[in-house]
């Protein structure tokens, strides 16, 4: 066992975020009621410092802590994305929490702890760390989902998320224990070495692989492990939903990729077919069930399921182009989803939940800019140029064509066309329907800022994506 002080430097961003989260918990009781907003700025500070740290460590590529933790450009790419997503979540939350009467300081601590879990997840290089990160991410999310504790819907979301989340981690853990038994190691690189050029004699490998796919499938909300998604998305407080659909999905995809490409890459032919099947049913079911939703948060939940199916194509392809396309997909998906949930939050007002699609009626008359922002996000989610969603789908499909999976591309494109129906229906309702009542929308500065940033990034990535693409290209997971 060796432990170098310099190893601390590599995990400094995680340490900073965790320390700030604990500090928030300590300060919170001493703040008078109604002044809890101060802690949000604490959260920004934590994320800002961590962003700076990760930015400076960007190009380093080293494994520390006896192979437990890997600091590489791939992980750092996801970390930067997670900081931005977390900061935007806090921006969305500040006014929302006050309005809902749940402005408790712990909220920001939990957001930071969940972020810390995701950061560990994307940098995990050992199955222990994978499980630890997954739990550190999930446990704060169970609490956050039930944060509106006077509302039954929110509690129900928390209960469902907890049952299915802990169930899936149990399954994942059993898979991990089998992998350990089969290979004698929990380290991802050592697993990869063990599998190099090996013929799979033992069927337990397949069982372990299936259990891992089930565990990760729950986290990325792939069909048939998606049952929790719509319920939790609808019931949880909207900013939490946004963070859940962006942060936890991005981090879970990153670790899915790392475990399956890096550790189990040697037996790709064995898991490939399974993932192709999952991807197909996810794309089909996600898009088809979204057609009949009347609640916008549920619709976005099914849309997020469908997007998981598309992103999985990048994982199936599994070469550097596939990994690159998945990274780009997660980056773009993050901004368009955060933006869409931001618009949903603006519609929330006294007595009106504002999360039904009919609440969007005549939004273009009431608030032209918000409606236009929603138009951009919907076009982007549907994948219509010149928005970023088009670029994301383009690279995913290109990677699949290069890997001779043309039929998968055809299916993906067909169901993209199906998805246009329910995305554009929102646009239609906003622009073609008369508003049923003349109400002024409140426009909290935090939400407006998130909308402006998200819309700008979505348009910028759609029109001039090359700086982002170059950056992602540099950060692609090194295939060993």
């Amino acid at each position: 066992m060796n432990f170098a002080v310099t190893d601390i430097g590599a995990v400094l961003p995680e340490v900073i975020v965790a320390v700030y989260a604990c500090a928030i918990l300590l300060i919170e009781p001493f703040l008078p009621k109604g002044r809890q907003e101060v802690l949000a700025y604490f959260g920004f500070a934590a994320l800002g410092v961590a962003f700076y740290g990760t930015w400076n460590l960007m190009r380093t590529d080293l494994t520390v802590m006896n192979g437990m933790f890997v600091l590489d450009p791939f992980g750092n790419f996801f970390k930067l994305l997670l900081y931005v997503a977390a900061a935007m979540t806090i921006l969305l939350s500040m006014e929302y929490l006050k309005r809902e009467g749940i402005d408790r300081g712990e909220y920001y601590a939990f957001v930071l702890l969940a972020t810390c879990g995701m950061m560990i997840l994307v940098s995990a290089s050992d199955l222990i760390m994978v499980f630890l990160g997954l739990e550190l991410m999930s446990i704060p999310f169970y609490i956050l989902a039930g944060f509106k504790r006077f509302e039954e819907k929110s509690l129900e979301a928390a209960a469902k998320y907890f049952i299915l989340g802990s169930f899936s981690s149990g399954i994942l853990l059993f898979g991990i224990s089998l992998l350990y038994g089969l290979s004698g190691t929990t380290n991802l690189q050592a697993l990869a070495l063990h599998l190099r050029g090996a013929e799979l004699q033992n069927p337990a490998w397949i069982l372990a692989m299936i259990l891992l796919v089930v565990g990760f499938g729950f986290k990325i909300a792939a069909v048939p492990f998606h049952m929790w998604t719509p319920d939790v998305y609808e019931g949880a407080p909207t900013p939490v939903t946004a963070f859940l659909s962006v942060g936890s999905k991005a981090a879970s995809f990153a670790v899915f990729l790392r475990v399956f490409i890096e550790a189990l890459g040697g037996i790709q032919s064995d898991w490939r077919f399974l993932l192709i099947f999952l991807s197909v049913v996810t794309i089909v079911l996600g898009n088809v069930v979204a057609l009949v939703q009347t609640n916008i948060k549920r619709m976005l939940a099914y849309s997020s399921i469908a997007h998981a199916g598309y992103a999985m194509i990048g994982l199936i392809v599994g070469d550097s182009l596939g990994i690159f396309s998945l990274m780009i997909y997660m980056l773009i998906y993050a901004f368009m989803t955060l933006g869409a949930f931001g618009v949903v939050m603006l519609l929330r007002r006294e007595g009106v939940e504002g999360d039904e699609i009919r609440d969007f009626a005549g939004l273009a008359r009431k608030d032209r800019l918000t409606a236009f922002a929603m138009l951009i996000f919907m076009f982007s989610l549907a994948g219509i140029p010149p928005t970023a969603g088009f670029v994301a789908k383009f690279y995913i499909f290109m990677a699949a064509v290069n890997a001779h999976l043309t039929w998968l591309v055809v299916l993906g494109v067909v169901f993209t066309a199906v998805s246009a129906y329910f995305y554009l229906r929102v646009v239609m309702v906003m622009y073609m329907k008369e508003p049923d009542e003349a109400v002024q929308l409140s426009a909290p500065p935090g939400v407006v800022m998130v909308l402006a940033v998200a819309a700008a990034v979505v348009l910028l990535l759609g029109i001039y994506p090359s700086p982002f693409l170059d950056y992602a290209q540099e950060a692609v997971l090194k295939l060993r």
Binding site: I143, A158, S169, I176, Y180, G181, G184, T186
Partner: protein
């Protein structure tokens, strides 16, 4: 000495018990217990493999899992209590506001 296969048989039975428990039992607390059984099945596996393979890693993972399971159970029980306060139900069938 008990052979490895016996340990694996026990842990598989435990795992399947937990799995079925989560899927068919309707009482929230029993579901929580079933999840714990699944985690402990994995623990047993890890410790058995660790002794069989003569490597310490498995036991360390098991220790981590025990700590994490405690945290998870704490949060789970807290959620049960809040749900229970809202309405007198620990039966998951009654938690049914949200459905597709």
């Amino acid at each position: 000495m008990i052979p490895l296969s016996s340990y694996l048989a026990v842990s598989s039975v435990l795992f399947v018990t937990g799995l079925i428990g989560v899927l068919i039992r309707r009482n929230f607390i029993i579901i929580l217990m079933s999840v714990e059984i699944m985690l402990n099945a994995a623990n047993l596996n890890l410790v058995a493999f660790s002794s069989y393979l003569d490597s310490m890693a498995g036991q360390i993972v098991a220790l981590f899992i025990i700590a994490i399971a405690a945290g998870e159970a704490a949060v789970g029980l807290a959620i049960i209590i809040v749900v229970f306060r809202g309405r007198i139900a620990t039966n998951v069938d009654q938690i049914n506001l949200l459905k597709w």
